[in-house]
């Protein structure tokens, strides 16, 4: 049925997400982090065959690689053996050399092929996960209701959908696969070396615990820094995006310096975090390398003594050292590994926060299709409030009205009185706090949102146009519409005349948000877009405010012809736009304070009458813009 008080669950933090402070989040992070990483890995395992290949290839490649030092050792021993024997049975030993060389080449080729498979499939899994997340993210964005989008900055969402997604995607290839490789290498090396000499093995691996400890410490620091960085990047993204979107305001007020100052502050924060991150990363990776080389030094020393004491051969020592060289690269990459884990967990938490979010307005389980019938829209005792800074601010109180097919309802009222909110409630962009909205006697919460919105169309007050052609914009609500209908919709909204004189006609691109159109042209295009969907109830939310009287009159005339089958709500500040309505509501502070037909309201001599007078007096009784000067 109706949703349960979801407003309270909307976080109060400014970005509308992540209610907890960073440190809170951090303290209980560990368990969450594990869960999150497991979730990503599980997504990876959904691609079973790739995963199996990747794992087998990783194991195979590492094992082959581990056998290479053995043959290197053999070769050294053989060469040395030959030295010792001096020239007698050379062919035998030469054969052994050739064999070692052959084995090394074979192993290298095999290892190369397997590494290729490992890397390719590791990356492929990452890309597949990326694809799944991308689609899931996109779908969720489209489903999350208005209350969510009101609070979350688009820049924030874009960062999540682009950068955070990358962080998660790369986790499989740079995190999981590498970690697996490291484990197999170290484990395999241990197993192989330990059969040769236990003490040397311990020495050779003495750096491992240190590295493990160091890297987990670094991971924590890094995770914290990633969180901080993400926040700060968010700030600068928002700043830049708004600056570019509002470029006309910036230029009109010559605020470039001010904007740059803001930018510099945000930028300095980022630089500081970035440098801290470099410090942590470099500090840990270099000290890890150091421990590795120390271990190698000890192997040389103790191993050398063993050679001197004839406990092992030079070849064996070379083998140990070759093992260590193999480990050198992965050890150096531990830094990346750690980074990858830290990044995946922060990015993952930000990404899944959106993907897991439940929209506050959703279909009830057995929502039925709307049957339109008479098409009467009825508000019954509707109250509604927005949540501002965790406080509810009532915007509408006890609104009652109904509009039937062929009828027109007008709504007037001062700015912020709640007119647009009425318009948003009818297609259920928000759910009412109390009261009910009916269409054809069906509670709109019990019918499917899709069918509801197909029947109820709002021409929004600030129209959003897509960066596409005029044709595609007009057909937005019904992309299968044919050219004739596009034409007639644009004719009805008086936009056709302008389109017709453009070189590309309906294929003309309108620029971002319609920048290449004038204010009135944007509004007319968005009216045409609404008309194409042929809704049963259409709500014009002040959608002729930037249109001159002559044009508006023509539009109204065109619309009148088709309006006897549909219910119309007109919200306007211009009384001429709605005075012909059957009923007019005067809304103030969320309440209907006057209602009736134009004539009734005039004779009421209240607020509406006051407006009427202001708009009809041709200025002689109005104010002059200049004190003491004659009116025009």
């Amino acid at each position: 049925m109706t949703k349960v008080d979801t407003h309270n669950s909307i976080p109060e933090k400014h970005d509308g997400l992540s209610t907890e402070s960073r440190s809170d989040q951090f303290s209980k992070g560990n368990k969450l982090e594990l869960k999150l990483l497991l979730r990503i890995i599980k997504m990876g395992f959904a691609h079973r065959y790739r995963m199996v290949i990747a794992i087998l290839a990783t194991a195979g490649a590492s094992i082959f690689q581990l056998f290479i030092p053995r043959y290197v050792g053999d070769a050294v021993d053989n060469a040395q053996g030959l030295l010792a024997l001096n020239n007698s049975a050379t062919t035998n030993a030469e054969e052994a050399l050739f064999f070692a060389a052959f084995m090394i080449v074979t192993l290298s080729v095999a290892r190369g092929l397997l590494t290729m498979l490992q890397n390719y499939h590791g990356e492929a899994i990452g890309h597949c996960i990326g694809y799944e997340l991308r689609v899931a993210f996109y779908d969720k964005i489209q489903k999350l209701s208005f209350d969510f989008h009101d609070k979350v900055h688009t820049g924030d969402l874009i960062t999540r959908g682009m950068l955070d997604l990358e962080g998660v995607r790369m986790f499989i290839s740079t995190g999981v696969v590498r970690l697996a490789m490291l484990i197999v290498l170290v484990g395999g090396a241990t197993a192989l070396m330990i059969t040769n000499d236990i003490l040397l093995t311990f020495l050779a691996l003495s750096f491992v615990p240190f590295v493990a400890w160091k890297s987990s410490a670094a991971r924590l620091r890094l995770r914290w820094l990633w969180l901080l960085m993400q926040d700060r990047l968010g700030v600068i993204t928002r700043l830049m995006e708004e600056n570019l979107n509002g470029i006309r305001v910036v230029r009109a007020f010559t605020a470039e310096k001010y904007e740059l100052k803001k930018f510099d502050i945000a930028s300095a924060n980022i630089l500081q975090t970035a440098i801290n991150r470099v410090k942590v990363r470099v500090g840990s990776t270099t000290v890890m390398s150091f421990s590795f080389f120390l271990a190698m030094g000890f192997v040389l020393w103790i191993g050398g003594q063993k050679v001197i004491n004839d406990e092992i051969s030079v070849g064996k020592l070379a083998e140990f050292l070759a093992f260590m060289t193999i480990l050198q690269m992965p050890v150096r990459q531990i830094g990346m590994l750690v980074n990858s884990f830290a990044r995946a967990s922060t990015c993952g938490s930000r990404l899944f926060e959106i993907i897991d979010r439940v929209p506050n307005v959703y279909d009830t389980p057995n929502a039925s299709e709307l049957t339109i019938g008479e098409g009467t829209l009825k508000f019954e005792n509707v109250s509604f409030s927005f949540t501002k800074d965790n406080r509810k601010v009532e915007v509408l109180r006890n609104i009652n009205f109904s509009v039937g097919a062929g009828e027109t309802l007008g709504i007037v009222g001062p700015p912020g009185s709640g007119k647009s909110t009425v318009a948003q409630l009818a297609p259920r962009f928000y759910d009412v706090d109390s009261g009910t909205i009916y269409i054809n006697d069906q509670d709109i919460r019990e019918i499917s949102i899709e069918s509801l919105r197909r029947f109820v169309c709002v021409i929004q007050q600030d129209s959003f146009l897509f960066t596409a052609s005029i044709e595609n914009n007009t057909a937005y609500g019904n992309p299968w519409v044919d050219d004739d209908e596009i034409l007639s919709a644009n004719q009805a909204s008086q936009f056709h005349e302008h389109v017709d004189q453009l070189p590309l006609k309906y294929k003309t691109l309108v620029g971002e948000r319609g920048v290449s159109l004038s204010g009135g042209q944007r509004q007319r295009l968005s009216i045409a877009r609404g008309l194409v969907t042929e809704p049963a109830i259409i709500i014009f939310d002040d959608s002729t405010a930037s249109i001159d009287a002559v044009t508006e009159r023509l539009i109204r005339k065109n619309l009148d012809e088709s309006s006897h089958t549909r219910g119309t709500i007109i919200i306007s500040h211009r009384l001429t736009s709605l005075m012909h309505a059957k009923e007019i509501l005067f809304v103030d502070k969320g309440e209907i304070i006057e209602r009736g037909s134009h004539e009734q309201l005039i004779s009421l001599k209240g607020k509406y009458f006051e407006l009427y007078q202001l708009q009809t007096r041709s200025g002689s009784n109005g104010v002059s813009l200049k004190k003491g000067r004659a009116d025009c």
Partner: protein, 611 residues
């Protein structure tokens, strides 16, 4: 039937932008000197850079020295017959000392390079951002913000990723040279033999590179298309939901995402085919050393230690090559990104201050258009030979049908664009002769679309004058009738506005943008439909306040509702970019032209209804 979708025609829908090649927007700024230009960013850090290079050299030397120490130890302490007392201990000690030096130089080098790199990145972003503050609006009109953002953030991020994962790979390149030198010093013949396979690597690269690069560029493009579509969905989400486009969009987006996936899989394949080749070459090199070197050892032409050292060197030699291969995608991205960043920096600034631009200290407030012709697209003039003048202290009203060019006139006064012909002057100066800063100081404007920034209401209102006090802000808000509703908000003037002021009604946003213009306190005030979304009652109050405010200022008022412009000194009626009529209300009434018709229509309907 109402609301029912019939699927008769082909789908007229796309998600995301249609222009796939950014080049169309930015032109080819790439001048082949990318690296040199990036190096110029390092200039301020020259000393740091030099010390870093020094430590890279030290670091590399230690890397090369490790196998040498092992070599020495084997040859002088471990091989039978050459057991020298104490040599092993000394070698081990030297090895550990080397490790320490290695550590210190490594730390210094990596942290310094990291620091410099981060500094350069931040500087790059700032330069791009600063540059975008100056490029002309006609460029900005053509370019989607998302595309710019993807350069400001995405490409900078790609460079950053590259640095984090591959900075040591660059150090490794130095190591390559060191190793080659060491090999030759140890044994020229064996070195030549071992390295004889390297040209093979070049041949392979030569065949592979162009294909791989094409695949990478394709992947990057697919990625940017998918991201563009995502950004569009995020920005237009309310329209998407209102128009029930979710399913169609999901389907289209799915296709885009799938293309992106396939392109990336292909690129990944290309990145990886190199791996077995490099590995095979490594193995071959080692085999050569073992066979050839082993035989030489056998004939006592070579010390065993040298052979071992060769093996170590060869392994280290191919390590960087391998890691560069593995990180090829990062590198490729970084290259492309670097170029894309430079392209932004190279966007020409069409509307710039003249070299000898005057700083206009005082302005008497006159505005004059003489013979102005202007348009946005070539061959399509919007304003045609426009002539008019607003005298100091006068208030002029501009009316006319939608799309007649009113907003364009205001844009020219602000010099958002340069005129094609004729001139626009302010206070007697051609706007092209004065600095843009001083021009902005004398013109304040309420834009047709009230754009507000995320931040408090207070910050928004005192946008132009960041240090003006609360009193000025409050009195401006009172003048436009915004004070009451602001006070009623839970946090008053400290209330934080969401993006574009989404938590206010449109009329409220307009009032704030109005107050913002008043606080700017300029000589010329332009009101472009400043009260279109405001009821007449509030408007009346504003007009009363304006009467005081406009005292001594020049005003330009644009409105469709004719009641808005009552009280203006003079009215200009614009149609299709030309002045149709000009005069006072009475004069125009008498004229019985467009104005009279508009005027009648503004009120005629009332007559219809009331009679």
């Amino acid at each position: 039937m109402n609301g029912v979708i019939k699927k008769s025609s082909p789908l007229k829908a796309v998600v995301g932008s249609q222009v796939s090649q950014d080049e169309e927007m930015f032109g080819r700024a790439f001048d082949g000197r990318v690296i040199r230009r990036f190096l110029s960013y390092c200039k301020p850090h020259t000393t740091m850079l030099l010390t870093a290079i020094l430590s890279v050299l030290i670091f590399t030397s230690t890397q090369i020295a490790f196998p040498l120490v092992i070599l020495y130890a084997i040859d002088n302490a471990l091989v039978k017959g050459k057991l020298n007392e104490g040599v092993l201990e000394i070698c081990a000690m030297i090895f550990c000392m080397l490790a320490l030096v290695n550590y210190a130089s490594n730390y210094y080098q990596e942290s310094t390079v990291g620091k410099i790199a981060e500094g350069v990145l931040v500087k790059l972003r700032r330069d791009m951002f600063g540059h975008l503050q100056r490029v002309s609006l006609s460029f900005m009109d053509r370019t989607e913000v998302g595309r710019l953002m993807s350069r400001l953030q995405g490409d900078v991020n790609a460079l950053q990723e590259f640095l984090e994962t591959s900075v040591f790979a660059i150090g490794d390149l130095v190591l390559l040279f060191g190793i080659v030198t060491a090999l030759f010093v140890l044994n020229v013949e064996l070195a030549l033999l071992t390295l004889s396979i390297v040209p093979l690597l070049f041949i392979v690269r030569f065949i592979w590179l162009p294909r791989a690069r094409a695949a990478f560029i394709k992947a990057r493009e697919a990625n940017s298309l998918a991201n563009g579509a995502l950004a569009e969905a995020i920005h237009g989400v309310k329209t998407v939901q209102g128009m029930v486009r979710e399913d169609v969009n999901s389907e289209l987006y799915n296709k885009r995402a799938k293309q992106n996936l396939l392109a990336h899989l292909r690129a990944a394949k290309f990145a990886q085919v190199n791996v077995p080749i490099v590995d095979t070459l490594t193995g071959t090199a080692m085999a050569i050393i073992i066979v050839v070197g082993g035989q030489q050892v056998l004939r006592s032409n070579l010390d065993l230690g040298v052979m071992v050292a060769f093996i170590f060197y060869v392994q280290r030699f191919f390590d960087p090559i391998r890691s560069l291969t593995l990180q090829y995608s990062f590198m490729q991205r970084a290259m492309v990104s670097g170029q894309r960043i430079l392209e932004v920096l190279d966007v020409p600034i069409d509307v710039a201050d003249k070299r000898d631009a005057i700083k206009m200290e005082k302005c008497d407030g006159t505005v004059e258009f003489s013979n102005v012709t202007f348009g946005y697209e070539p061959e399509l003039p919007i304003l045609k030979k426009l002539n008019f003048r607003i005298n100091s202290g006068e208030t002029l009203a501009l009316v006319g049908p939608t799309g007649s060019g009113k907003t364009s006139i205001t844009a020219l006064i602000n010099r958002f664009y340069d005129v094609w012909e004729g001139s626009v002057s302010i206070g007697g100066y051609d706007v092209r002769d004065i600095t843009q800063q001083s021009l902005g100081d004398h013109v304040a404007m309420v834009l047709q679309e009230p754009f507000l920034f995320t931040g408090t209401i207070l910050e928004n209102i005192r946008y132009k004058k960041a240090n003006s006090d609360l009193n000025a802000v409050v009195s401006a808000s009172k003048a436009v009738g915004a004070h009451d509703f602001i006070e009623a908000l839970p946090n008053g003037y400290e209330t934080i506005l969401e993006q574009r002021g989404a938590n206010l009604s449109l009329g409220q946003r307009q009032l704030i943008s109005f107050a913002r213009a008043i606080v700017a306190d300029a000589k010329i005030l332009i009101l472009d439909e400043a009260t279109a979304s405001i009821d007449s009652y509030t408007e009346l109050k504003i007009q009363r306040a304006l009467a005081v405010l406009l005292e001594g200022r020049t005003g330009l008022v644009i409105a469709h509702r004719l009641a808005t412009i009552r009280g203006c000194d003079r009215i200009i009626v614009l149609n299709k970019g030309e002045i149709l009529e000009e005069g006072t209300h009475e004069e125009l009434q008498k004229n019985e032209g467009l104005y009279a018709r508009l005027y009648k229509l503004n009120y005629a309907s009332f007559d219809d209804a009331s009679t």
